[in-house]
């Protein structure tokens, strides 16, 4: 079989070697092979287009990043920046790209007086949190997990239950150092006229807005090499102690300052009221409705153990859904034990009025504070994807959950894991002004499904179909990330974010070399919903994003055909409906 990896020209590689030294550049396929996400189980659509890079380069500092980017600009080499490679978007999507692996840039500086951490792109969350707590500070660990790079995560999702109290994380971005796709370095906020990054705004327009959106960056507008992040004063006099090990390792809570509460709520209406009322009373650190499956996941000691418990409990779980669902609340005594006592009093009063029944829960943290076991989402079945994840209204969250559940259960369960009527994960954000909604599906990628060779295809189809329901039910949202497949960004749906984005892209990345995407979205639509395009006058995503498929032109000019953009194994499959 032919090799997948393409070669970057020797001249370009030599130029990279001159910058970082031979030790930190490789085009050896034994190494580049693994610069794709792997598992075939992550974010299906992006995953499908991944290509091993032609070359990987590992800079040590901003100067080296800048020089590398200039080389890419000069040779017209597409590049993909990588922080910790947690996000699947770190995988390149064209066959001859350069992976700029920023893992060596793990720097972390502190301005304790201003409560600011200055981080580099290779730093992940758990060491940041560990060092913060040593200094009497803390930040939140996102749902993406402790292993996610701080900068990469701040620029994309950074969703966490603690967003309820702390607000959306992107608002905590202060001074930023940014290498543009042509190699120019710009500094935002107070960094623009001093070395002190304490302030996010600065002379001139505040360009942080370009970093805060959703669709398009993942490295699309360049590389952030330094970011100052506002931290919070730690609410505990001492660090929480780790206890247990392995799957059960956790941070023990001191009982008078931080506490979880699980309430069984008698109706959906009561659940909505409870979430609103807690927010209105301005109490709590996190407020959420967690899918039952994660509680089973949390108490299982192996995949086999999970299914031994989850399978037989179907009737019990379904029965409980008709009568109640679980509200999970975290209270923190930020100012002292009295605050916890006070907030607990209010919480209990709300629950009394709404019929909430207090259940048992462990008083420790396996997630959000120091750790977040996002990798564990692959555990129950081997395949997982978040079909949709948006910050919207609470009403939207509940409505969307019902729509997506109906679509999933009526057409796709099985093969997707049956969650016995689960309507998704809902958590309050911004002290209840907004709500975060996430709909997760799981499946067994190894399990043959009729005409589908693996479970993966069915999940892919489900993703597209579920987004079709957003159109049918008018449930689209300004948060366009998870709806990008349908290109729901055009004039028919309000502001044309795609067009706005493309103008920004053209301004900062005229050669379209910074993390160019492979335009699989169109192909998904062609396969699964050819009529939708006509019906809704959609412009293909690629057209919106890349005004005429510039990369397609580049590829063809270099002798590549469309199919060359996909790995060989893809075309060797029996089921070529997509192709």
């Amino acid at each position: 079989m032919p090799k997948v990896t393409e070669k970057v020209s020797r001249a370009a590689i030599n130029a990279l070697v001159n910058i970082v030294g031979p030790e930190w550049v490789t085009d050896d396929a034994a190494i580049t092979e693994s610069y794709v996400k792997g598992g075939e189980i992550h974010d299906c659509i992006y995953q499908r287009g991944q290509q091993p890079p032609g070359v990987v380069v590992m800079p040590k500092n901003t100067d080296e990043v800048q020089r590398i980017v200039k080389v890419c600009f000069r040779y017209h080499l597409p590049y993909t920046p990588i922080g910790a490679f947690w996000g699947v978007h770190c995988g390149g999507k064209v066959p001859f790209h350069v992976s700029i692996d920023l893992s060596r840039m793990r720097g972390l500086d502190w301005d304790e007086r201003q409560m600011v951490a200055i981080v580099e792109p290779g730093l992940i969350h758990s060491p940041l949190q560990a060092e913060a707590q040593e200094r009497g500070l803390y930040t939140m660990t996102p749902g993406g997990g402790s292993q996610a790079a701080v900068i990469g995560n701040m620029l994309t999702c950074n969703y966490s239950p603690l967003n309820y109290r702390l607000g959306l994380a992107t608002r905590r971005i202060l001074g930023v150092e940014w290498v543009l796709p042509d190699g120019e370095v710009i500094r935002l906020g107070s960094l623009s006229n001093s070395d002190d990054p304490f302030w996010g705004e600065g002379p001139g327009p505040d360009l942080r807005g370009l970093l805060r959106g959703y669709l398009g960056w993942w490295g699309k507008v360049g590389i952030i090499t330094k970011m100052a992040i506002k931290m919070h004063p730690l609410f505990l006099p001492e660090r929480m102690k780790p206890v247990e090990r392995g799957m059960l390792s956790t941070l023990e809570f001191p009982d008078n300052r931080i506490k979880w509460y699980n309430f069984r709520i008698p109706s959906e209406e009561a659940m909505r009221k409870a979430m609103r009322e807690i927010s209105r009373c301005e109490i709590g650190a996190a407020v959420m409705r967690v899918p039952t499956i994660w509680r089973y996941r949390g108490k299982s000691t192996s995949r086999e153990d999970f299914w031994d418990k989850w399978g037989p409990d179907e009737k019990k779980i379904r029965a409980s859904r008709s009568t109640s669902s679980i509200l999970r609340v975290l209270l923190i005594g930020y100012t002292g034990p009295q605050q916890l006592e006070y907030e607990e009093g209010i919480l209990m009063q709300i629950m009394d009025e709404l019929g909430g029944e207090l259940g048992r829960t462990k008083q420790s943290d396996q997630s959000w504070i120091k750790n977040a076991d996002s990798a564990g989402m692959w555990w129950p079945a081997g395949g997982y994807v978040s079909v949709e994840f948006v910050v919207e209204t609470l009403e939207h969250s509940f409505a969307r959950g019902k729509t997506l559940l109906k679509e999933k259960e009526s057409k796709f369960t099985p093969p997707l894991v049956d969650e016995y009527g689960e309507e998704g994960w809902i958590q309050m954000t911004d002290m209840g002004h907004t709500s975060y909604f996430e709909f997760l599906i799981q499946w067994d990628p190894e399990n043959p499904l009729g005409k589908y060779k693996s479970g993966e295809y069915k999940a892919w189809e489900h993703w597209v179909a579920s987004q079709r329901t957003a159109i049918d039910n008018g449930q689209y949202t300004a948060n366009i990330g998870s709806l990008s497949v349908m290109g729901l960004t055009g004039p028919a749906f309000g502001p044309n974010y795609g067009e706005i984005y493309d103008k920004v892209r053209q301004a900062v990345d005229p050669k379209d070399i910074s993390n160019p995407p492979l335009d699989l979205h169109d192909r998904v639509i062609e396969e699964f919903a050819p009529k939708w395009m006509e019906e809704y006058d959609f412009k293909p995503w690629t057209e919106l994003m890349h005004g005429g498929k510039e990369w397609w032109k580049v590829l063809t000019s270099r002798g590549y055909k469309w199919k060359d953009c996909l790995p060989e194994w893809y075309w060797d499959r029996d089921d070529k409906e997509i192709g």
Partner: protein, 425 residues
Amino acid sequence: MIVSGTFELKDYIYEMRRCMRCASCKWLDHIYMPDNRFVYRCPSYAKYYFSKVAYGRLKLGLALVEDRLEDTPGMRDMVFQCLMCGACDSGCKRNLDLEVMNSLEALRGHLVQQGKAPEAHQALVDNVVKKHNKFGAAHNQRTKWNPAQAKDKSDTVYFAGCGASYKEQGIAQASDKILGALDGYMLLPGEQCCGHPLFALGRYDEFRKQMDINLAAMKKTGAKRLVTACAECYKTWKVDYPRLLKINTSDLGFEVLHISELVAPAVAEGRLELKNRLDLKVAWHDPCNLGRMSEPYNHWEGTRGKWGCLEPAEGKPAKQFNRGTAGVYDAPRDILAAIPGVEMVELKRHHEFSWCCGGHAGVPEAYPELAKDTVADRLEEVKAVGAEALASACPYCKEQFKAGLTDRDHQVPVYDITELIALSL
């Protein structure tokens, strides 16, 4: 049918495909993450970066088994610049239960079969096969350490191993004193290398021969237990032999104990008194092969069913995963706590997160720069926790630490646990 612990790369396709690069094989457990200095669990990644860590090696293995990749100039280094310390395996089993270590062992064997092992490994192999020890020393010098209290016959066989027999003889002598103070011991007649170096290098055929020799000798003694003070020997007898035999550790026919497992209960029950005071603030280094790598082996056969669940063959038990948390961790700590005057301090990375000493799996021979940087990183930890001495339970760890300390400003004495016990007796 899935058979646990095979050495065929094709038997690990599921693990290699299902790895989704979460990097639990690279980072320390996040709950225990101490700071931004000691963040990694994988020494190979910390030294070389790129994807020289389990997820990268699994992807390489998958490409090889799917015949998508031919030989490349860097392939050998990609596979063998690894200490086979098992830290990645315990990390993966924090979340995904993939058999990472078994996959890496199979990958190593795959390259060995293709003649792609580092040349520097061959001398080690020859030494074990021809001279019966990894150093190439004369076999008749093996008991030169003077086993003064050894008996002709005992229920307890003391297996000294190559390290304590030839290099760190103080460990063998201390073991002699300790075992003499307990119920006595005998040596394994004609003791040869346990074969650990062969196993760690991916030379499984040669390893099997070495295993057969040792097992035959052990069987002949009729002893009830084999005791060793070497972590590598311990893991070999306790885990690797039964694995090759496709049996459980408990079915070996004799007990395999690290000497600390014999001493700790004896101290607790008052059968052994640690009376001499040693005023030391000691950092304890968990050897990989005493801790996370030495959980009892449980042979398993079955299939992978719906949702990827492992279903045991009819009449067989469910698979027991070795996640590294049930190694020998408490016994040496209990002993140190019982020695008057000793204050034990934990290093930043301990128990199943322990940072390898760097002296394993042919790395010092083929990639000395990796061995050197790895031990240096551990010694930085010793400094960071303010320890006055360092203790461990493996002659090769001790050798590594001594070598790592030679050109450093920060000097601390290095002890084996047997030496501290003997000093306190």
